[in-house]
Symmetry: C2
DNA sequence: TAGTGGTCTAGACCACCGT
DNA sequence: CGGTGGTCTAGACCACTAA
């Protein structure tokens, strides 16, 4: 699978052509996915990988460039290239786009697990997670508060098969980003997500949980999160109070 | 300003060091900004630019890589590199993140200008556009409808100095993206933007304009748009009806 | 066919990090 | 100091486009 000898050229693979560096990227991705190098660990140097795959360092470099751009890997000059992890402060707010209106008052964030149970996937969840209807899923409900103010009410759905040992107790005992727990304990790394945002009125139960009036306008944020190879592994429905916060977005 | 002769090395410029390719990027950006090449036009080939700046083609290439990543230019293999423009179908929905819930029913979009007047900048607008308080600005109000349904009510603020000939008549006569008009007629190219999204209840006037009930939850989308060198040149406040649409976002 | 961007290589040197 | 990623060069060849 490597172009070992000088001058040997890589052929088109079926109808779709990939340049060499993209094939190398695929090989590295497979190693990441397979756990050859774990989150936070150092991967081999560019020179080493070049030797392993029988290509030039520049080609490996271009492959890693793309992996770094996709946040699968982090470069550190003088030290090496590391497998990205949700453990770092850097990565905390990569997926949560809610920000305080007055910048600076980041303040304390508190997460409280309300519920964690296993049940059969409702239709929409099964569809989003590409499961067969009625397959087992884990449902988590939790409340995020910022300096004591209840602000985000989340309902999270995960495929039951991949999250066997996930219990209310385990979640409640854990402090820190959920995605860090998922990657460390369940070998599932969240890579990217898409969100659909709408404005809705708070129903009675929601209003009570978030300590706002019934009918209060809230952001409804529906997220589908993907791991390697664009496989969906989480669906999330969040209700955000935007009195003192907003959903921030950068348009490139 | 160019490292013409072989072996001559570029020095640190004051306390901040830039690699050569980034300096080249700056020179190309300046030419874009100065109008040496207009939106939609072909810029010189990489070889030509390399000769002009006295660097290797690879260095120019890396500079253009970044410009392409920032959507300032568009590469077309076999043809050349073009100055990006808001005229193309590709670029239409780069800034408007509203999407129909049922994909596929893109349908007809209709834009109706409600108002266009010149006045002194209110405090928040002046601050966002980095103008002195009370400086002249243009205010535009418009309504976007999708298959006949009023959906977006926009209030747009522009610096008066840069948008002199902008009138209600000129806007109403124009069909197509506003940013295409701005770049063609006023030499102002919108590069990137940041948005802050909140959920709010429709007030009486808004409800009427959008044909919804008063108190209806709406998305409030506040945008600040920047041109070259991160100079803010537009502030926008939009109210979105999300009955059959949603605000779509990709989390990388 | 000529010209463009796209890929790949090999080798040099720089900037940064830890020991 | 040695090793890592970061920059820069020069040159070869490929893929695509237009004339």
């Amino acid at each position: 699978m490597n172009a070992s000898s000088r001058g040997e050229r890589v052929e088109r693979e079926g109808p779709t052509f990939s340049p060499l560096y993209r094939q190398i990227k695929g090989l590295i991705t497979r190693s990441l996915q397979g756990g050859e190098w774990k989150p936070g660990e150092l991967i081999p140097s560019e020179t080493e990988l070049a030797a392993r795959f029988g290509v030039s360092q520049g080609t490996v470099r271009k492959a890693i460039d793309e992996l770094a751009a996709e946040n699968l890997v982090v470069r550190r000059q003088g030290r090496g290239t590391f497998v990205a992890t949700h453990q770092e402060a850097r990565a905390q707010f990569r997926f949560l786009r809610l920000r305080p209106d007055q910048a600076g008052e980041a303040g304390v964030m508190d997460s409280r697990i309300l519920e964690c149970r296993r049940l059969r996937a409702p239709g929409d969840v099964a569809r989003a997670l590409q499961l067969r209807a009625g397959e087992a899923v884990v449902q988590i409900r939790r409340l995020l508060s910022f300096q004591g103010q209840p602000t985000v009410l989340d309902e999270i759905w995960l495929p039951g098969a991949q999250f066997r040992g996930l219990t209310f107790e385990r979640l409640s005992a854990y402090t820190g980003p959920l995605y860090a727990l998922f990657e460390a304990e369940f070998g599932t790394r969240m890579i990217r997500a898409t969100e659909r945002v709408k404005a809705v009125a708070a129903d009675e139960a929601t209003a009570k949980a978030l300590a706002v009036a019934a009918g209060e306008p809230l952001l409804l944020v529906e997220r589908v999160t993907y791991t390697y190879e664009d496989r969906p592994v989480e669906m999330r429905r969040g209700l955000y109070v935007t009195h003192r916060h907003h959903y921030r977005n950068e348009l490139g």
